[in-house]
Symmetry: C3
Subunit: 185 residues, 3 copies
Amino acid sequence: MVPPVGRLAWTLIPSCWLHLIATVMRRVIMFGPLPTRFFITSGYGEASTELNAFDAALLNAGIGNTNLIKLSSILPPGCLEIEPYELPKGSMVPLAYGELTSSRPGTLISAAVAVGIPVDPSAPGLIMECNRIGAPEVCEQASREMVREGMEIIRGLRIREIRSISASLTVRKVGAVFAAVVLCP
Amino acid sequence: MVPPVGRLAWTLIPSCWLHLIATVMRRVIMFGPLPTRFFITSGYGEASTELNAFDAALLNAGIGNTNLIKLSSILPPGCLEIEPYELPKGSMVPLAYGELTSSRPGTLISAAVAVGIPVDPSAPGLIMECNRIGAPEVCEQASREMVREGMEIIRGLRIREIRSISASLTVRKVGAVFAAVVLCP
Amino acid sequence: MVPPVGRLAWTLIPSCWLHLIATVMRRVIMFGPLPTRFFITSGYGEASTELNAFDAALLNAGIGNTNLIKLSSILPPGCLEIEPYELPKGSMVPLAYGELTSSRPGTLISAAVAVGIPVDPSAPGLIMECNRIGAPEVCEQASREMVREGMEIIRGLRIREIRSISASLTVRKVGAVFAAVVLCP
C-alpha cells in the first residue's frame, strides 16, 4: 500500500527522528495549529434538489470546491481578518456557518454569521450563526445580538468590533443561502 | 502533563527547527494534506437502539472502529479509487456519507453515495449522498443525478465516470443503513 | 500571502527534506495522530437564545472557548483517562457529545455520555451519547446500556470499565445541557 516515495522516506529518516517528529506533530496537530486569519463570505444558489442548491450557494460564496469541516465557533485569539481568497480545491476547511434551504417557491430565506473581536488580543472571539425565513437584516441583527450576549454578558469580554455578513434569496424552485466565517492558517 | 518522551523531544530539537517545522506543518495541516485516494463502502445493521444500529452499520461497512469526520463532499483533484482496506482503529477518517435509521419494523430503508470523477485531473470531483424510505436503486440513481447536475450543469465540468454504492435493509426492530466515500492519505 | 517567517522557512529547508517531511506528515496527520488520552466533562447553561445557552453549557463544562469537532465515537486503543484541563483557546478539539436545548420553561432536560474501556488494550473503546427530557440517571443509564450492547454483543469485546457522566437542568427560560468525552493528544 505504501507508494515508492513514501517507502523511500521511511528508510531515509532515522527512526529516532521519526519519533521526535511524530511527538512534535502530535502536539501541534491535535488542538492546533491555531488559525491565524479568517474571512467572512456568503452566497445563495438555486438548483433542482436541496443538496445541489446548497452546493450552488457554496460555489457562489467562493468555497464550493472545498470540504467544509463545521466547528462550534470560537475565533482563536489574535486572528486577523483578511480578504476572501481561493482555497485549494478539495482542501479541508474549518469554518462556522449558517445555512437554510427551502423548496417552497416564493419564500424569502436568509442566513447570517457574526463574529465578535475582543479588545483583549489574548481573548477568544465568538462566532454566532443564524438562519430564518424572512429578511436578511433581521437575521444578521440576531446573530450580532447573540455575539454580544455571549461575549459581554456570558464571558464578560469587551468587544472591539463585530463583523457580520448575510445572504438571502426568494426561492424560485429549490434554493439555499449560506453565510460563513472561514478560519485560515 | 508532558510525558517523558515528549519532554526529551523538546530539548533535542533546537527551537529554531521547531519553529520551521511548525511553520511548514501549519501550511500542510490546515487545508490539507489533500487526500490522494478514496474508496466507497456501504453497510447495514440491526440493534436495539438507533445509535447501536448505526454503529452496527458502520461495522458492516468496515469502518466501525474509526472516528468519522463528516465533510461537505468534494473529491480532491487527482484522487484515485482504491479497494477498501482496514483503517487504524480509532483514527479520524474524513468522509462523506448518507445514512438512515428507522425503528419501524417492516420499513425498507436505503442510503447511497455517488462520486463524480472529472475528465480534467486538475478539477475537483463531487460527492452526493442520499437516503430515503424505498428501494436502494432509486436512492443510488438520485445521488448519481445530483452529481451530474452539480458537475455538468452547475460547474460545467465533463464527467469521466460516476462511481456509486448503496445499502438497504428491511427493518426488523431498529435498523440503519450507511453508504460512504472515504478519503485516504 | 506568505508571511516573512514562512518564506524564510521555505528557503532554509532543502526541498528534499520538505518532501520527506510532507510524506511523513501526510501519514501521521490523516487518520491520526491517534489521541492517547481522554477526559469526560459535562455542563449546563441558561441564556436568551438556544445558541447562547449551548455556548453557556460548553463554558460550564470547561470547553466553551474551543472549537468542537464532533466525532462518531470510538476511543482509540490504549487511550488513558486524565483529569479535565484547560485546552488552548480556539483550538480544534475532537470529541463525542450529547446535548439538548429547550425553550420550554419548567422542562427537565438531560444529556449523558458513556465510554467503554475494553479489557484488551489493543481493542478500541466505544462512546455512546444520549439526550432526553427527564432525569439524568435514566439518560446516563441508557448511554451505558448502549456501550454494553455495542461492545459486548455487537463487537464481542470484554469491558474493563464503563465511565459515564451526565448533566441536567430544569429550564428557566432557554436552557442547554451537554456531556462529552474529549479526546486529547
